[in-house]
Symmetry: C2
Amino acid sequence: MPRKVYGAIEGGGTKFNCVIGTDPDHVLATHTIPTTNPQSMLDAVIHFFQQALQDHKDIELVAVGVGSFGPIDLNPTSATYGYITTTPKSGWQYTDIVGSLKERLGVPVAFDTDVNAAALGEYRWGAAQGSDPSVYITVGTGIGGGIYVNGAPLHGLIHPEMGHLQLPRLDGDDFFGICPYHTHCWEGVASGPAIASRAGKPAQDLPSDHPVWEIEAQYLAMAITSIIYITSPYRIILGGGVMRQEHLFPRIRYYVQKIINGYLNHPAVLNDIASLIVPPKLGSYAGLFGALELGKQGKSVSAESAS
Amino acid sequence: MPRKVYGAIEGGGTKFNCVIGTDPDHVLATHTIPTTNPQSMLDAVIHFFQQALQDHKDIELVAVGVGSFGPIDLNPTSATYGYITTTPKSGWQYTDIVGSLKERLGVPVAFDTDVNAAALGEYRWGAAQGSDPSVYITVGTGIGGGIYVNGAPLHGLIHPEMGHLQLPRLDGDDFFGICPYHTHCWEGVASGPAIASRAGKPAQDLPSDHPVWEIEAQYLAMAITSIIYITSPYRIILGGGVMRQEHLFPRIRYYVQKIINGYLNHPAVLNDIASLIVPPKLGSYAGLFGALELGKQGKSVSAESAS
Protein backbone atom coordinates (compact mmCIF):
# COMPACT_ATOMS: atom_id res chain seq x y z
CA MET A 1 0.00 0.00 0.00
CA PRO A 2 1.83 3.19 -1.13
CA ARG A 3 1.95 6.17 1.17
CA LYS A 4 -0.31 9.01 -0.01
CA VAL A 5 1.52 12.31 -0.49
CA TYR A 6 0.62 15.66 -1.99
CA GLY A 7 2.41 18.18 -4.12
CA ALA A 8 2.35 21.94 -3.80
CA ILE A 9 3.51 24.81 -5.97
CA GLU A 10 3.71 28.44 -4.95
CA GLY A 11 4.05 30.59 -8.03
CA GLY A 12 5.56 34.03 -7.51
CA GLY A 13 6.85 36.75 -9.79
CA THR A 14 10.50 35.82 -9.24
CA LYS A 15 10.39 32.12 -8.31
CA PHE A 16 8.22 29.04 -8.07
CA ASN A 17 8.59 26.92 -4.93
CA CYS A 18 7.60 23.27 -4.95
CA VAL A 19 7.19 20.71 -2.20
CA ILE A 20 6.09 17.11 -1.94
CA GLY A 21 4.90 15.68 1.36
CA THR A 22 1.93 15.73 3.66
CA ASP A 23 2.45 18.67 6.02
CA PRO A 24 5.18 21.08 7.22
CA ASP A 25 6.67 18.37 9.43
CA HIS A 26 6.63 15.68 6.75
CA VAL A 27 8.38 16.96 3.66
CA LEU A 28 10.04 14.57 1.20
CA ALA A 29 11.59 17.13 -1.14
CA THR A 30 11.52 20.81 -2.07
CA HIS A 31 12.64 22.69 -5.13
CA THR A 32 12.90 26.29 -6.30
CA ILE A 33 12.56 27.34 -9.93
CA PRO A 34 13.19 30.86 -11.27
CA THR A 35 10.11 32.38 -12.92
CA THR A 36 11.43 32.55 -16.48
CA ASN A 37 8.65 31.41 -18.79
CA PRO A 38 5.66 29.08 -18.39
CA GLN A 39 7.15 26.22 -20.45
CA SER A 40 10.42 26.08 -18.47
CA MET A 41 8.55 26.37 -15.22
CA LEU A 42 6.21 23.55 -16.17
CA ASP A 43 9.03 21.27 -17.32
CA ALA A 44 10.97 21.88 -14.12
CA VAL A 45 7.92 21.25 -11.93
CA ILE A 46 7.12 17.98 -13.71
CA HIS A 47 10.74 16.90 -13.44
CA PHE A 48 10.76 17.66 -9.71
CA PHE A 49 7.67 15.57 -9.01
CA GLN A 50 8.83 12.70 -11.24
CA GLN A 51 12.22 12.67 -9.55
CA ALA A 52 10.62 12.58 -6.11
CA LEU A 53 8.42 9.67 -7.19
CA GLN A 54 11.47 7.80 -8.43
CA ASP A 55 13.42 8.51 -5.24
CA HIS A 56 10.61 7.30 -3.01
CA LYS A 57 9.18 4.11 -4.44
CA ASP A 58 6.61 3.72 -1.68
CA ILE A 59 4.66 6.95 -2.34
CA GLU A 60 1.64 7.85 -4.42
CA LEU A 61 1.08 11.46 -5.53
CA VAL A 62 -2.62 11.99 -4.85
CA ALA A 63 -3.14 15.62 -5.80
CA VAL A 64 -1.37 18.92 -6.29
CA GLY A 65 -2.25 22.37 -4.96
CA VAL A 66 -1.14 25.62 -6.55
CA GLY A 67 -1.07 29.10 -5.05
CA SER A 68 -0.25 31.54 -7.80
CA PHE A 69 0.42 35.19 -8.47
CA GLY A 70 -2.45 36.75 -10.36
CA PRO A 71 -4.83 37.81 -11.44
CA ILE A 72 -6.07 34.25 -11.89
CA ASP A 73 -9.39 32.75 -12.96
CA LEU A 74 -11.05 30.87 -10.08
CA ASN A 75 -14.47 30.42 -11.66
CA PRO A 76 -14.87 26.65 -12.27
CA THR A 77 -17.43 27.30 -15.02
CA SER A 78 -15.17 29.67 -16.95
CA ALA A 79 -13.32 28.68 -20.14
CA THR A 80 -10.13 30.05 -18.62
CA TYR A 81 -10.53 28.45 -15.16
CA GLY A 82 -7.11 27.70 -13.73
CA TYR A 83 -5.34 30.32 -15.84
CA ILE A 84 -3.13 33.21 -14.84
CA THR A 85 -5.03 35.89 -16.82
CA THR A 86 -4.21 39.56 -17.39
CA THR A 87 -0.90 39.74 -15.54
CA PRO A 88 1.54 42.44 -16.68
CA LYS A 89 4.31 39.79 -16.38
CA SER A 90 5.72 39.28 -19.87
CA GLY A 91 5.00 35.88 -21.41
CA TRP A 92 2.58 34.83 -18.65
CA GLN A 93 -0.70 36.32 -19.90
CA TYR A 94 -3.40 33.65 -20.15
CA THR A 95 -1.21 30.77 -19.01
CA ASP A 96 -3.15 27.57 -18.35
CA ILE A 97 -1.67 26.40 -15.05
CA VAL A 98 -4.24 23.86 -13.89
CA GLY A 99 -4.84 22.25 -17.30
CA SER A 100 -1.14 21.83 -18.05
CA LEU A 101 -0.33 20.33 -14.67
CA LYS A 102 -3.32 17.98 -14.73
CA GLU A 103 -2.44 16.74 -18.19
CA ARG A 104 1.17 16.01 -17.37
CA LEU A 105 0.81 14.81 -13.78
CA GLY A 106 -2.46 12.92 -14.14
CA VAL A 107 -3.75 14.02 -10.73
CA PRO A 108 -6.33 16.57 -9.56
CA VAL A 109 -4.95 20.11 -9.27
CA ALA A 110 -6.43 22.64 -6.84
CA PHE A 111 -5.84 26.31 -7.55
CA ASP A 112 -5.99 29.60 -5.68
CA THR A 113 -4.17 32.90 -5.30
CA ASP A 114 -0.80 32.92 -3.55
CA VAL A 115 -2.29 35.01 -0.75
CA ASN A 116 -5.39 32.85 -0.31
CA ALA A 117 -3.04 29.87 -0.12
CA ALA A 118 -1.00 31.69 2.51
CA ALA A 119 -4.16 32.51 4.46
CA LEU A 120 -5.11 28.83 4.32
CA GLY A 121 -1.61 27.71 5.31
CA GLU A 122 -1.56 29.99 8.35
CA TYR A 123 -5.09 28.89 9.25
CA ARG A 124 -4.18 25.22 9.02
CA TRP A 125 -0.69 25.21 10.53
CA GLY A 126 0.34 28.73 11.45
CA ALA A 127 -0.57 31.87 13.33
CA ALA A 128 -4.29 31.77 12.46
CA GLN A 129 -5.16 28.28 13.69
CA GLY A 130 -8.85 28.27 14.58
CA SER A 131 -9.20 31.91 13.52
CA ASP A 132 -12.11 32.10 11.08
CA PRO A 133 -12.21 34.69 9.56
CA SER A 134 -8.55 35.55 9.20
CA VAL A 135 -6.64 37.61 6.68
CA TYR A 136 -3.16 37.16 5.21
CA ILE A 137 -1.51 40.23 3.70
CA THR A 138 1.78 40.33 1.85
CA VAL A 139 3.69 43.60 1.59
CA GLY A 140 6.55 43.25 -0.86
CA THR A 141 7.03 44.00 -4.55
CA GLY A 142 3.26 44.25 -4.59
CA ILE A 143 0.57 44.23 -1.91
CA GLY A 144 -2.12 41.58 -1.82
CA GLY A 145 -4.37 39.82 0.61
CA GLY A 146 -6.20 36.56 1.05
CA ILE A 147 -9.11 35.76 3.36
CA TYR A 148 -10.10 32.52 5.04
CA VAL A 149 -13.77 32.78 6.02
CA ASN A 150 -16.59 30.39 6.85
CA GLY A 151 -14.40 27.38 6.27
CA ALA A 152 -12.77 28.26 2.94
CA PRO A 153 -10.71 30.87 1.11
CA LEU A 154 -12.77 33.77 -0.20
CA HIS A 155 -13.39 33.68 -3.93
CA GLY A 156 -15.84 35.88 -5.74
CA LEU A 157 -16.31 37.81 -8.91
CA ILE A 158 -12.52 37.70 -9.23
CA HIS A 159 -10.68 37.38 -5.92
CA PRO A 160 -9.65 39.98 -3.35
CA GLU A 161 -7.46 42.67 -4.89
CA MET A 162 -6.99 44.64 -1.73
CA GLY A 163 -3.63 46.05 -2.79
CA HIS A 164 -5.53 48.65 -4.76
CA LEU A 165 -7.58 50.11 -1.91
CA GLN A 166 -7.78 53.87 -2.30
CA LEU A 167 -6.24 55.41 0.83
CA PRO A 168 -6.60 58.84 2.42
CA ARG A 169 -3.50 60.96 1.93
CA LEU A 170 -1.49 61.86 5.02
CA ASP A 171 -1.30 65.58 5.71
CA GLY A 172 1.65 67.01 3.86
CA ASP A 173 2.42 63.86 1.87
CA ASP A 174 3.00 64.87 -1.74
CA PHE A 175 3.96 61.39 -2.99
CA PHE A 176 1.06 60.12 -5.07
CA GLY A 177 2.31 56.61 -5.54
CA ILE A 178 3.68 54.42 -8.30
CA CYS A 179 0.56 52.49 -9.39
CA PRO A 180 -0.08 52.98 -13.12
CA TYR A 181 -3.85 52.67 -12.52
CA HIS A 182 -4.48 54.67 -9.36
CA THR A 183 -3.48 57.75 -7.47
CA HIS A 184 -2.81 56.88 -3.88
CA CYS A 185 -3.77 53.24 -3.75
CA TRP A 186 -2.26 51.02 -1.08
CA GLU A 187 0.26 49.24 -3.30
CA GLY A 188 1.09 52.51 -5.00
CA VAL A 189 2.13 54.22 -1.78
CA ALA A 190 3.27 51.38 0.49
CA SER A 191 4.79 48.48 -1.50
CA GLY A 192 8.54 47.86 -1.45
CA PRO A 193 9.12 49.78 -4.71
CA ALA A 194 6.92 52.62 -3.40
CA ILE A 195 9.10 52.89 -0.28
CA ALA A 196 12.21 52.92 -2.49
CA SER A 197 10.71 55.58 -4.71
CA ARG A 198 9.72 57.72 -1.73
CA ALA A 199 13.04 57.35 0.09
CA GLY A 200 15.36 57.32 -2.92
CA LYS A 201 16.96 54.01 -2.00
CA PRO A 202 15.88 50.39 -1.53
CA ALA A 203 13.67 49.70 1.49
CA GLN A 204 16.08 47.11 2.91
CA ASP A 205 18.88 49.71 3.01
CA LEU A 206 16.92 52.19 5.13
CA PRO A 207 17.69 52.33 8.86
CA SER A 208 14.77 51.58 11.16
CA ASP A 209 14.69 55.22 12.30
CA HIS A 210 14.30 56.57 8.76
CA PRO A 211 11.21 58.82 8.63
CA VAL A 212 9.76 56.84 5.73
CA TRP A 213 8.91 53.94 8.08
CA GLU A 214 6.57 56.12 10.10
CA ILE A 215 4.72 57.04 6.91
CA GLU A 216 4.74 53.41 5.80
CA ALA A 217 3.25 52.27 9.11
CA GLN A 218 0.46 54.81 8.83
CA TYR A 219 -0.55 53.74 5.33
CA LEU A 220 -0.42 50.07 6.28
CA ALA A 221 -2.55 50.86 9.34
CA MET A 222 -5.14 52.73 7.25
CA ALA A 223 -5.63 49.80 4.92
CA ILE A 224 -5.58 47.22 7.72
CA THR A 225 -8.21 49.22 9.59
CA SER A 226 -10.48 49.12 6.51
CA ILE A 227 -9.96 45.37 6.30
CA ILE A 228 -10.87 45.02 9.98
CA TYR A 229 -14.05 47.07 9.53
CA ILE A 230 -15.15 45.02 6.54
CA THR A 231 -14.14 41.47 7.49
CA SER A 232 -13.86 41.52 11.31
CA PRO A 233 -10.99 39.00 11.41
CA TYR A 234 -9.69 37.22 14.49
CA ARG A 235 -6.18 37.41 13.09
CA ILE A 236 -4.37 39.57 10.52
CA ILE A 237 -1.08 38.12 9.36
CA LEU A 238 1.41 40.44 7.72
CA GLY A 239 4.02 38.75 5.55
CA GLY A 240 6.21 39.63 2.59
CA GLY A 241 9.61 41.28 2.24
CA VAL A 242 8.71 44.66 3.71
CA MET A 243 7.28 43.05 6.83
CA ARG A 244 10.70 41.56 7.65
CA GLN A 245 11.20 45.04 9.12
CA GLU A 246 9.96 43.89 12.51
CA HIS A 247 9.88 47.43 13.89
CA LEU A 248 6.84 48.03 11.69
CA PHE A 249 4.58 45.77 13.77
CA PRO A 250 4.33 47.91 16.93
CA ARG A 251 3.96 51.05 14.82
CA ILE A 252 1.16 49.55 12.72
CA ARG A 253 -0.67 48.34 15.83
CA TYR A 254 -0.38 51.81 17.36
CA TYR A 255 -1.84 53.53 14.30
CA VAL A 256 -4.63 50.96 13.87
CA GLN A 257 -5.74 51.66 17.43
CA LYS A 258 -5.41 55.39 16.82
CA ILE A 259 -7.58 55.29 13.67
CA ILE A 260 -10.27 53.08 15.27
CA ASN A 261 -10.21 55.44 18.27
CA GLY A 262 -12.09 53.14 20.63
CA TYR A 263 -15.02 52.56 18.30
CA LEU A 264 -14.51 48.79 18.18
CA ASN A 265 -15.07 48.10 21.84
CA HIS A 266 -13.40 44.71 21.99
CA PRO A 267 -10.43 43.58 24.12
CA ALA A 268 -8.67 42.18 21.03
CA VAL A 269 -8.49 45.71 19.61
CA LEU A 270 -8.24 47.71 22.82
CA ASN A 271 -5.82 45.58 24.85
CA ASP A 272 -4.45 42.68 22.86
CA ILE A 273 -3.77 44.06 19.41
CA ALA A 274 -0.35 42.37 19.46
CA SER A 275 -2.26 39.08 19.10
CA LEU A 276 -4.56 40.48 16.41
CA ILE A 277 -1.87 41.77 14.02
CA VAL A 278 0.98 39.26 13.77
CA PRO A 279 3.75 37.93 11.53
CA PRO A 280 3.27 34.58 9.76
CA LYS A 281 4.25 31.55 11.84
CA LEU A 282 5.20 29.67 8.67
CA GLY A 283 7.44 32.57 7.61
CA SER A 284 7.93 32.67 3.88
CA TYR A 285 6.43 29.17 3.53
CA ALA A 286 2.84 30.12 4.36
CA GLY A 287 1.82 30.10 0.69
CA LEU A 288 3.65 26.89 -0.15
CA PHE A 289 2.17 24.89 2.72
CA GLY A 290 -1.19 26.52 2.10
CA ALA A 291 -0.96 25.20 -1.46
CA LEU A 292 -0.22 21.76 0.00
CA GLU A 293 -3.38 22.00 2.10
CA LEU A 294 -5.27 23.15 -1.01
CA GLY A 295 -4.09 20.00 -2.76
CA LYS A 296 -5.25 17.83 0.12
CA GLN A 297 -8.64 19.56 0.23
CA GLY A 298 -8.88 19.55 -3.55
CA LYS A 299 -8.74 15.78 -3.42
CA SER A 300 -10.91 15.17 -0.43
CA VAL A 301 -13.35 18.07 -0.33
CA SER A 302 -13.76 19.54 -3.79
CA ALA A 303 -12.43 16.83 -6.06
CA GLU A 304 -15.21 17.56 -8.52
CA SER A 305 -14.17 21.09 -9.35
CA ALA A 306 -10.49 20.39 -8.84
CA SER A 307 -10.19 17.28 -11.01
CA MET B 1 -50.03 17.40 12.16
CA PRO B 2 -49.56 21.17 12.70
CA ARG B 3 -48.01 23.27 9.98
CA LYS B 4 -44.47 24.38 10.84
CA VAL B 5 -43.98 28.15 10.74
CA TYR B 6 -41.20 30.50 11.75
CA GLY B 7 -41.07 33.88 13.39
CA ALA B 8 -38.83 36.79 12.51
CA ILE B 9 -37.97 40.08 14.17
CA GLU B 10 -36.03 42.92 12.62
CA GLY B 11 -34.90 45.29 15.34
CA GLY B 12 -34.15 48.83 14.26
CA GLY B 13 -33.46 52.09 16.03
CA THR B 14 -36.99 53.43 15.46
CA LYS B 15 -39.10 50.28 15.08
CA PHE B 16 -39.19 46.50 15.41
CA ASN B 17 -40.88 44.59 12.59
CA CYS B 18 -42.23 41.10 13.19
CA VAL B 19 -43.54 38.42 10.89
CA ILE B 20 -44.78 34.87 11.22
CA GLY B 21 -44.84 32.53 8.23
CA THR B 22 -42.52 30.48 6.09
CA ASP B 23 -41.30 32.79 3.30
CA PRO B 24 -42.13 36.14 1.63
CA ASP B 25 -45.07 34.53 -0.23
CA HIS B 26 -46.48 32.77 2.83
CA VAL B 27 -46.98 35.27 5.60
CA LEU B 28 -49.61 34.72 8.29
CA ALA B 29 -49.25 38.01 10.15
CA THR B 30 -46.98 41.01 10.53
CA HIS B 31 -46.63 43.64 13.22
CA THR B 32 -44.66 46.82 13.83
CA ILE B 33 -43.59 48.00 17.28
CA PRO B 34 -41.97 51.35 18.06
CA THR B 35 -38.51 51.00 19.62
CA THR B 36 -39.29 52.44 23.03
CA ASN B 37 -37.62 50.24 25.63
CA PRO B 38 -36.62 46.57 25.73
CA GLN B 39 -39.40 45.48 28.11
CA SER B 40 -42.21 46.99 26.01
CA MET B 41 -40.69 45.64 22.84
CA LEU B 42 -40.39 42.17 24.31
CA ASP B 43 -43.97 42.19 25.67
CA ALA B 44 -45.34 43.34 22.32
CA VAL B 45 -43.33 40.72 20.39
CA ILE B 46 -44.52 37.92 22.65
CA HIS B 47 -48.10 39.15 22.39
CA PHE B 48 -47.86 39.21 18.60
CA PHE B 49 -46.62 35.63 18.35
CA GLN B 50 -49.13 34.35 20.93
CA GLN B 51 -51.98 36.06 19.12
CA ALA B 52 -50.91 34.54 15.80
CA LEU B 53 -50.75 31.09 17.38
CA GLN B 54 -54.28 31.58 18.75
CA ASP B 55 -55.60 32.83 15.39
CA HIS B 56 -54.14 29.87 13.52
CA LYS B 57 -54.81 26.71 15.49
CA ASP B 58 -53.09 24.49 12.93
CA ILE B 59 -49.60 26.02 13.21
CA GLU B 60 -46.53 25.26 15.27
CA LEU B 61 -43.90 27.97 15.86
CA VAL B 62 -40.63 26.11 15.28
CA ALA B 63 -38.01 28.82 15.69
CA VAL B 64 -37.49 32.57 15.61
CA GLY B 65 -34.80 34.60 13.82
CA VAL B 66 -33.71 38.07 14.87
CA GLY B 67 -31.80 40.66 12.86
CA SER B 68 -30.89 43.49 15.19
CA PHE B 69 -29.25 46.87 15.29
CA GLY B 70 -25.92 46.69 17.03
CA PRO B 71 -23.32 46.29 18.08
CA ILE B 72 -24.39 42.81 19.11
CA ASP B 73 -22.57 39.82 20.55
CA LEU B 74 -22.47 36.92 18.09
CA ASN B 75 -19.89 34.80 19.86
CA PRO B 76 -21.76 31.67 21.06
CA THR B 77 -19.17 31.09 23.79
CA SER B 78 -19.53 34.59 25.24
CA ALA B 79 -21.44 35.34 28.45
CA THR B 80 -23.29 38.09 26.58
CA TYR B 81 -24.07 36.06 23.43
CA GLY B 82 -27.33 37.26 21.95
CA TYR B 83 -27.13 40.69 23.56
CA ILE B 84 -27.26 44.15 22.05
CA THR B 85 -24.07 45.46 23.69
CA THR B 86 -22.52 48.95 23.67
CA THR B 87 -25.19 50.77 21.66
CA PRO B 88 -25.50 54.51 22.28
CA LYS B 89 -29.30 54.00 22.24
CA SER B 90 -30.58 54.92 25.68
CA GLY B 91 -31.92 52.01 27.75
CA TRP B 92 -30.73 49.36 25.29
CA GLN B 93 -27.15 48.82 26.47
CA TYR B 94 -26.53 45.15 27.23
CA THR B 95 -30.04 43.97 26.43
CA ASP B 96 -30.39 40.19 26.33
CA ILE B 97 -32.43 39.64 23.17
CA VAL B 98 -31.90 35.93 22.53
CA GLY B 99 -32.20 34.81 26.16
CA SER B 100 -35.40 36.76 26.78
CA LEU B 101 -37.10 35.53 23.62
CA LYS B 102 -36.07 31.92 24.17
CA GLU B 103 -37.32 31.96 27.71
CA ARG B 104 -40.72 33.38 26.87
CA LEU B 105 -41.32 31.68 23.51
CA GLY B 106 -39.75 28.32 24.31
CA VAL B 107 -38.24 27.93 20.84
CA PRO B 108 -34.72 28.27 19.41
CA VAL B 109 -33.76 31.84 18.55
CA ALA B 110 -31.19 32.63 15.85
CA PHE B 111 -29.47 36.00 15.97
CA ASP B 112 -27.51 38.25 13.65
CA THR B 113 -27.04 41.88 12.70
CA ASP B 114 -29.84 43.63 10.81
CA VAL B 115 -27.54 43.99 7.81
CA ASN B 116 -26.33 40.39 7.85
CA ALA B 117 -30.00 39.37 7.99
CA ALA B 118 -30.70 41.65 5.01
CA ALA B 119 -27.75 40.15 3.11
CA LEU B 120 -29.14 36.68 3.84
CA GLY B 121 -32.69 37.70 2.85
CA GLU B 122 -31.52 39.10 -0.48
CA TYR B 123 -29.36 36.02 -1.04
CA ARG B 124 -32.24 33.66 -0.31
CA TRP B 125 -35.12 35.49 -1.97
CA GLY B 126 -33.96 38.75 -3.47
CA ALA B 127 -31.44 40.43 -5.73
CA ALA B 128 -28.47 38.30 -4.67
CA GLN B 129 -29.87 34.83 -5.32
CA GLY B 130 -26.95 32.52 -6.02
CA SER B 131 -24.47 35.37 -5.48
CA ASP B 132 -21.89 34.16 -2.96
CA PRO B 133 -20.21 36.38 -1.85
CA SER B 134 -22.65 39.27 -1.81
CA VAL B 135 -22.86 42.40 0.29
CA TYR B 136 -25.86 44.32 1.64
CA ILE B 137 -25.29 47.94 2.59
CA THR B 138 -27.79 50.24 4.26
CA VAL B 139 -27.40 54.00 3.94
CA GLY B 140 -29.80 55.76 6.27
CA THR B 141 -29.55 57.19 9.77
CA GLY B 142 -26.36 55.17 9.94
CA ILE B 143 -24.35 53.19 7.46
CA GLY B 144 -23.74 49.49 7.88
CA GLY B 145 -23.10 46.39 5.84
CA GLY B 146 -23.55 42.65 5.99
CA ILE B 147 -21.78 39.97 3.97
CA TYR B 148 -22.97 36.58 2.83
CA VAL B 149 -19.92 34.46 2.01
CA ASN B 150 -19.08 30.77 1.69
CA GLY B 151 -22.60 29.77 2.59
CA ALA B 152 -23.24 31.92 5.67
CA PRO B 153 -23.27 35.47 6.99
CA LEU B 154 -19.83 36.75 7.96
CA HIS B 155 -19.23 36.89 11.69
CA GLY B 156 -15.86 37.46 13.27
CA LEU B 157 -14.17 39.18 16.12
CA ILE B 158 -17.30 41.36 16.29
CA HIS B 159 -19.11 41.70 12.95
CA PRO B 160 -18.54 43.99 9.99
CA GLU B 161 -18.62 47.65 11.01
CA MET B 162 -18.01 49.01 7.57
CA GLY B 163 -19.83 52.28 8.26
CA HIS B 164 -16.67 53.52 9.91
CA LEU B 165 -14.29 53.05 7.00
CA GLN B 166 -11.91 55.97 6.82
CA LEU B 167 -12.38 57.64 3.43
CA PRO B 168 -10.15 59.92 1.38
CA ARG B 169 -11.36 63.50 1.41
CA LEU B 170 -12.61 64.93 -1.86
CA ASP B 171 -10.58 67.90 -3.10
CA GLY B 172 -12.04 71.04 -1.61
CA ASP B 173 -14.42 69.28 0.76
CA ASP B 174 -14.12 70.98 4.14
CA PHE B 175 -16.89 68.95 5.83
CA PHE B 176 -15.19 66.55 8.23
CA GLY B 177 -18.26 64.56 9.14
CA ILE B 178 -20.53 64.03 12.11
CA CYS B 179 -19.11 60.85 13.63
CA PRO B 180 -18.12 61.38 17.28
CA TYR B 181 -15.29 58.84 16.91
CA HIS B 182 -13.76 59.60 13.53
CA THR B 183 -12.84 62.36 11.15
CA HIS B 184 -14.06 61.53 7.69
CA CYS B 185 -15.44 58.07 8.16
CA TRP B 186 -18.09 56.78 5.76
CA GLU B 187 -21.07 57.18 8.10
CA GLY B 188 -19.72 60.52 9.26
CA VAL B 189 -19.71 62.03 5.77
CA ALA B 190 -22.43 60.10 3.90
CA SER B 191 -25.25 58.98 6.21
CA GLY B 192 -28.65 60.70 6.07
CA PRO B 193 -27.83 63.04 8.98
CA ALA B 194 -24.44 63.81 7.36
CA ILE B 195 -26.19 64.84 4.15
CA ALA B 196 -28.57 67.03 6.16
CA SER B 197 -25.70 68.59 8.04
CA ARG B 198 -23.77 69.27 4.84
CA ALA B 199 -26.76 70.66 2.93
CA GLY B 200 -28.49 72.47 5.80
CA LYS B 201 -31.78 70.64 5.31
CA PRO B 202 -33.06 67.04 5.44
CA ALA B 203 -31.85 64.74 2.66
CA GLN B 204 -35.38 63.91 1.52
CA ASP B 205 -36.10 67.61 0.91
CA LEU B 206 -33.17 68.09 -1.47
CA PRO B 207 -33.88 68.13 -5.22
CA SER B 208 -32.08 65.47 -7.26
CA ASP B 209 -29.90 68.13 -8.90
CA HIS B 210 -28.63 69.48 -5.57
CA PRO B 211 -24.80 69.47 -5.63
CA VAL B 212 -24.68 67.47 -2.39
CA TRP B 213 -25.81 64.33 -4.24
CA GLU B 214 -22.75 64.37 -6.46
CA ILE B 215 -20.56 64.51 -3.35
CA GLU B 216 -22.66 61.78 -1.72
CA ALA B 217 -22.29 59.52 -4.75
CA GLN B 218 -18.51 59.92 -4.71
CA TYR B 219 -18.17 59.01 -1.04
CA LEU B 220 -20.49 56.03 -1.44
CA ALA B 221 -18.46 54.95 -4.47
CA MET B 222 -15.16 55.21 -2.56
CA ALA B 223 -16.39 52.93 0.20
CA ILE B 224 -18.08 50.51 -2.20
CA THR B 225 -14.87 50.26 -4.21
CA SER B 226 -12.96 49.32 -1.04
CA ILE B 227 -15.58 46.67 -0.32
CA ILE B 228 -15.23 45.31 -3.86
CA TYR B 229 -11.44 45.14 -3.55
CA ILE B 230 -11.61 43.31 -0.24
CA THR B 231 -14.58 40.94 -0.71
CA SER B 232 -14.94 40.57 -4.51
CA PRO B 233 -18.75 40.26 -4.37
CA TYR B 234 -21.01 39.15 -7.22
CA ARG B 235 -23.65 41.58 -6.01
CA ILE B 236 -23.70 44.73 -3.89
CA ILE B 237 -27.16 45.69 -2.70
CA LEU B 238 -27.72 49.25 -1.55
CA GLY B 239 -30.73 49.76 0.71
CA GLY B 240 -31.84 52.19 3.41
CA GLY B 241 -33.58 55.54 3.34
CA VAL B 242 -30.93 57.49 1.44
CA MET B 243 -30.87 54.91 -1.36
CA ARG B 244 -34.54 55.61 -2.10
CA GLN B 245 -32.95 58.46 -4.09
CA GLU B 246 -32.80 56.31 -7.22
CA HIS B 247 -30.71 58.89 -9.09
CA LEU B 248 -27.80 57.89 -6.85
CA PHE B 249 -27.42 54.45 -8.45
CA PRO B 250 -26.09 55.54 -11.89
CA ARG B 251 -23.84 58.13 -10.25
CA ILE B 252 -22.39 55.60 -7.82
CA ARG B 253 -21.77 53.09 -10.63
CA TYR B 254 -20.03 55.79 -12.66
CA TYR B 255 -17.69 56.75 -9.83
CA VAL B 256 -16.93 53.13 -8.86
CA GLN B 257 -15.79 52.51 -12.45
CA LYS B 258 -13.83 55.74 -12.40
CA ILE B 259 -12.00 54.86 -9.18
CA ILE B 260 -11.21 51.29 -10.29
CA ASN B 261 -10.00 52.75 -13.61
CA GLY B 262 -9.97 49.48 -15.52
CA TYR B 263 -7.83 47.64 -12.98
CA LEU B 264 -10.45 44.96 -12.33
CA ASN B 265 -10.59 43.56 -15.82
CA HIS B 266 -13.94 41.81 -15.55
CA PRO B 267 -17.10 42.35 -17.63
CA ALA B 268 -19.20 42.72 -14.47
CA VAL B 269 -17.20 45.84 -13.59
CA LEU B 270 -16.38 47.12 -17.07
CA ASN B 271 -19.68 46.56 -18.87
CA ASP B 272 -22.39 45.34 -16.55
CA ILE B 273 -21.97 47.34 -13.38
CA ALA B 274 -25.73 48.01 -13.34
CA SER B 275 -26.11 44.32 -12.41
CA LEU B 276 -23.31 44.48 -9.85
CA ILE B 277 -24.60 47.44 -7.80
CA VAL B 278 -28.36 47.15 -7.33
CA PRO B 279 -31.28 48.07 -5.06
CA PRO B 280 -32.78 45.39 -2.78
CA LYS B 281 -35.44 43.26 -4.44
CA LEU B 282 -37.18 42.78 -1.09
CA GLY B 283 -37.21 46.56 -0.58
CA SER B 284 -37.39 47.47 3.07
CA TYR B 285 -38.22 43.85 4.01
CA ALA B 286 -34.81 42.38 3.23
CA GLY B 287 -33.83 42.31 6.90
CA LEU B 288 -37.15 40.94 8.11
CA PHE B 289 -37.26 38.05 5.66
CA GLY B 290 -33.57 37.47 6.18
CA ALA B 291 -34.36 37.08 9.88
CA LEU B 292 -37.05 34.56 8.92
CA GLU B 293 -34.46 32.58 6.96
CA LEU B 294 -32.13 32.86 9.97
CA GLY B 295 -34.84 31.29 12.10
CA LYS B 296 -35.29 28.47 9.62
CA GLN B 297 -31.55 27.83 9.44
CA GLY B 298 -31.18 28.27 13.18
CA LYS B 299 -33.52 25.34 13.62
CA SER B 300 -32.23 23.13 10.86
CA VAL B 301 -28.58 24.00 10.52
CA SER B 302 -27.25 25.43 13.74
CA ALA B 303 -29.82 24.40 16.31
CA GLU B 304 -27.06 23.72 18.80
CA SER B 305 -25.81 27.27 19.03
CA ALA B 306 -29.23 28.80 18.47
CA SER B 307 -31.19 26.82 21.05
